[in-house]
């Protein structure tokens, strides 16, 4: 019975044997020429620990071995690891740290396997930390606590260098930041407190400096291009070496410094700001503006407000144009005056088309911009031209399209399209009832004097009006049309 015959191992003796194994491990890690562990070595080391823990008290050395395990790490770290780290700086220090951390993890793995028997019963009995935690904690308390400030500064300095366009060793940074994460043993506290906070502060300061220069030197489109580029690069930075949890915080800082702080200045730049872009139809720049400003809180409100001002301005200019043209034609010929107003209505429709396209293309159909467009049109659509209300103008316009020999000569398709657009513009007119009155009168004349060019179009516009304004609006008109057309046809 071999198990019972074994000799009592004295603590000193046993530890001397273990120490040999530990030294061998250290040599291997330091890269010294040392043969690898054989399975016999392994078993002997494991067995020694096992025996020392299962001997009868007072020779049960579990507590002492647990302490000596920790001491083994502390010795190694203070005698070899810390000195080698203290004598290096910047990037060299970072590389050394990565190497030492990797070594440390290997050492923990091996030693905790040798001492594994302690993990099985002793630590549970005394509610102590398991072996691998002890190992990592040693590194944390001795190395990390002392160096993390220096490390952080070195990393941030490298990041700023990369921002200025220099090439840096990204893998190195990834390894270093992994240490911050791993040292937390499941918690992100160390990464966040010892690195991320400072990194975010530095990022904000960096972009604040850049922005204050760019806002003075660059035009709005150029500034926006730079901003977009920066955001893209920072996002890439996260994927290359930062921890993914940093992404939203980082982007938020950059957006804040580049867009929120200087937002208004940017939009109101005299020759290249939002107004100018709208005036010059710079759709790409406007799309970019939308993309950027939609990311910051309340970012789109000023943009939509400028959009509304612009559209109102354009519309009001059309009204004025029509007024001027009308007042110039002092002739009493109603037709000629009417022509100017027809032109006005057509131009209003074109304006609507143009800016509706802006809302859907540049501004991705955002509700703020739909609202801005609507409000703008409501403002100038209700201004009359030379005495005629917009309701009347619109009705006259329809009349011209629908009657025979009307001033508008269009294909069937084009007519349909135009009627559709007229109905849309009608939505902005406040006194729709007035429109209904004028329309009905003109419809009656068309029907009575057989001047209606096309029955289908007549019906079609009524359907559209019904959809837009409800059945009440169109009931009389529909009645008239059915009366005349059905009876005439038969």
């Amino acid at each position: 019975m071999t198990m019972n015959e074994r000799k009592m191992i004295d603590l000193e003796q046993g530890w001397e044997f273990m120490q040999k194994g530990i030294t061998k491990l250290k040599n291997i890690l330091e890269g010294l020429p040392e043969p690898q562990f054989s399975s016999e070595d392994y078993m002997m080391l494991y067995t020694t620990i096992y025996n020392m823990c299962t001997q009868k008290p007072p020779h049960d050395y579990s507590q002492q071995l647990y302490d000596k395990y920790r001491e083994a790490f502390e010795d190694y770290i203070t005698s070899m690891v810390l000195p080698s780290l203290r004598e290096k700086h910047d990037e060299f220090m970072l590389r050394e740290l990565v190497k030492r951390w990797t070594n440390h993890k290997v050492m923990v793995r091996w030693l905790s396997r040798f001492f594994h028997y302690l993990d099985r019963y002793f630590i549970a009995r005394r509610s102590l930390s398991p072996l691998n935690e002890v190992g990592l904690t040693c590194f944390r308390n001795l190395v990390y606590l002392e160096l993390n400030g220096k490390v952080r500064d070195a990393v941030i300095s490298l990041i700023d260098q990369e921002r200025e366009g220099e090439q840096i060793d990204r893998a190195l940074l990834k390894n270093i930041l992994d240490i911050f994460v791993e040292i937390g043993m499941g918690q992100m506290d160390y990464y966040e407190n010892d690195f991320e906070d400072a990194m975010l502060k530095d990022t904000a300061a960096y972009y604040s400096r850049k922005a204050s220069n760019w806002i003075l030197e660059d035009s709005c489109p150029d500034y926006m291009l730079k901003a977009e580029e920066c955001l893209k690069r920072e996002k890439e930075r996260v994927s290359h070496y930062l921890h993914s949890s940093s992404e939203p915080k980082l982007l938020e800082k950059v957006q804040n410094e580049l867009l929120s702080v200087y937002g208004n200045q940017l939009l109101e730049k005299e020759h290249s700001g939002c107004h100018a872009l709208l005036r010059d139809d710079k759709v790409n720049d406007l799309s970019r503006m939308f993309r950027l400003f939609s990311k910051i809180p309340r970012g789109l409100e000023p943009v939509s407000s400028i959009f509304k001002q612009h559209v109102t301005g354009e519309g009001t200019a059309l009204v004025k144009q029509a007024e001027d043209a009308a007042s110039n034609k002092k002739a009493e010929k109603k037709d000629v005056v009417g022509l100017q107003e027809q032109v006005f209505v057509r131009k209003v429709i074109e304006l609507h088309d143009k800016y509706l396209a802006y809302v859907s293309d540049c501004f991705q159909n955002h509700t703020l911009f739909h609202k801005a467009l609507k409000e703008a049109f409501e403002i100038f659509c209700n201004k009359g031209v030379s005495g005629s209300s917009s309701a009347e103008l619109l009705a006259t316009f329809c009349d011209n399209i629908l009657k025979k020999g009307g001033s508008e000569k269009l294909s069937d398709e084009a007519i349909e399209e135009t009627l559709e657009k007229v109905v849309k513009v009608l939505a902005y007119i406040s006194d729709k009832d007035l429109f209904a009155e004028f329309y009905r009168k003109k419809l009656a004349r068309r029907l009575l004097f057989d001047k209606s060019a096309n029955d289908d179009h007549e019906r079609s516009i009524l359907t559209k009006l019904k959809q837009q304004c409800g059945g009440q609006f169109t009931s009389k008109m529909e009645g008239m049309v059915s009366l005349f057309i059905s009876s005439y046809g038969s």
């Binding site: 071999t2 198990m3 562990f37 054989s38 399975s39 078993m43 494991y46 067995t47 091996w110 594994h116």
Partner: protein, 98 residues
């Protein structure tokens, strides 16, 4: 069975038992040793000496490994243990973390 899939367990008296790695790894201790990172010369050869475990016990243990694998795959059988062996077997089991 291929050589790479086996390990050799050697008792105190020098008896050699060759069993599959899968069986041997029922023991946590053996598993740890075989899966230690990198630097194991003998991991390829797969020989482990147990100077403290007698041949009879080691034989019983190997039987246990195989029984354990069978039990895990669902075939329920009883594992016979002679009473004289019990104490030693338990100590060995503790040592091997089985």
């Amino acid at each position: 069975m291929r050589k790479e899939d086996t390990v050799k367990l050697i008792s105190a008296e020098g008896f050699e038992f060759v069993i599959s790695k899968e069986a041997a790894m029922v023991s946590q201790t053996i598993r740890n040793m075989l899966t230690s990172p990198g630097s194991f010369a003998e991991a390829q050869h797969g020989e482990v000496t147990f100077p403290e475990i007698s041949t009879t016990i080691l034989e019983k243990i190997c039987q246990y490994f195989h029984w354990s694998l069978q039990y895990a795959s669902g075939k329920e059988t009883e594992f016979p243990i002679e009473p004289e062996l019990t104490l030693e077997l338990m100590m060995a089991a503790n040592y091997l973390h089985t």
